[in-house]
Amino acid sequence: MMKRLIVTTLFWCALPASAAEPDGMGPLRGTGDLGLAVERASGSVVLLDTTLRRAIGRIDGLGDLSHASAVFSRDARYAYVFGRDGGLTKLDLLTGRVVKRIVQSGNAIGGAISQDGRTIAVANYTPGGVRVFDSQTLELIADIPTDSKVVGIEDAPGNRFVFSLWDKGEIWIADLSENPRAPRITRYTDIGQQPYDALVSPDGRWYIAGLYGENGLAVLDLWAPEKGVRRVLPDYGRGQERLPVYKMPHLETWAVVGNLAFIPGVGQHEVVIVDLDRWTQVGAIAVAGQPVFVMAEPTGRRLWVNFAFPHYDTVQVIDVPGRQIVHTLKPGKAVLHMEFTPRGEQVWLSVRDADRVDIYDTATFRKLGELPAASPSGIFFSARAHRIGL
């Protein structure tokens, strides 16, 4: 009797899964080689297959996708896309459909998924604050007003979200480990003027915020948050001349190789090398323009760098051990983003004004292919599902 009951229960549980089997996208498949590219001007995304090197679908109706980004569910099936207009859209990579879409604020800048995968947090400009949603249903479960634009929201171990307040110069930790509906907030004030973006190191230990209003970085040790935020690298930043910055560098994908971090200079035409044991600058590599993304191949051997206006037609590749540029590519105007396949044999670049996503072999720098995409910006592969701080 007991056995039969279990069998019946299992069968019943299996029903929704089979009902949700892919339709229109072929037979059963995995999602580990899938991803998406944001089409920023048309409010759509292109679904990508990195094995076939093809677009396998397009999803429209996602609103204003300027500065859009995406995170992935822990089973790597669903993508959550954060739009400028406060839109939060849950996509199914297998069926190529929108599962649910909400507009959760008036103006937003990105989001993160918790370590346990149960909650999604969105950083908002208007109204300033963070809203937390159930990742299954997108039901609002916590609202954290900050009275400031929120930037640099990251997930951290222990089901915490860490974020910075642009207008107030603060870092907050929202700890959801006890009760996601009532996050425990820790505030750090006077961390520096105008934090503009942040990252969590790949090991989940350091939350590092870049400062626009002054030199230096604000660093919080998430293994010892009681020690507070400290300021490091007093010479890192825009310098005395306050160079104009035509596009804010992105820090989230800071390249960390061994004990060294390679970070974009602010306003400067250089990649700065930082010793993470001592938090000191140990070098700089001159590059073609103001870096936006400095991304390490998954192996850590090389860095790929793209640039702000007016040098955004260029990508440079830096050899890490040699600390020098080994290749310069000119894919076309406005290379906005780069994404490596999970093991790093390919890099996919979005070339906005050419309406193309280009695929390069990272070993030979040979172009492997190109896909049409309308004004593509961010490219996000599902392997991000299993990395902290993205």
């Binding site: 001007a41 300027s66 400028r84 103006n107 930037v151 626009y212």
Partner: protein
């Protein structure tokens, strides 16, 4: 030029110019600003904010054109 404003300014002000890290550049927000003020901001930026000066990359005529369009509502 329209594309330049939508795309490059759009990084901070949003593709729809409804604001982001930068202020909204909608007609409602811009209408009452003197044209000379808008031109000065585009050319020289606003110290203490993230707004850079674009003077090395735009001619005075282009700046004037952008400022005028912003006041009447920037074309799509």
């Amino acid at each position: 030029m329209t594309r330049f404003v939508r795309q490059e300014c759009g990084f901070c002000h949003g593709l729809r110019l409804t604001g982001g890290l930068g202020a909204p550049l909608t007609a409602e927000a811009m209408r009452d600003r003197p044209i000379e003020y808008l031109e000065a901001v585009i050319q020289h930026g606003i110290p203490g904010t993230a707004m850079p000066g674009w003077v090395p990359h735009l001619t005075p005529r282009q700046v004037h054109w952008i400022a005028e369009r912003l006041r009447e509502g920037f074309p799509p």
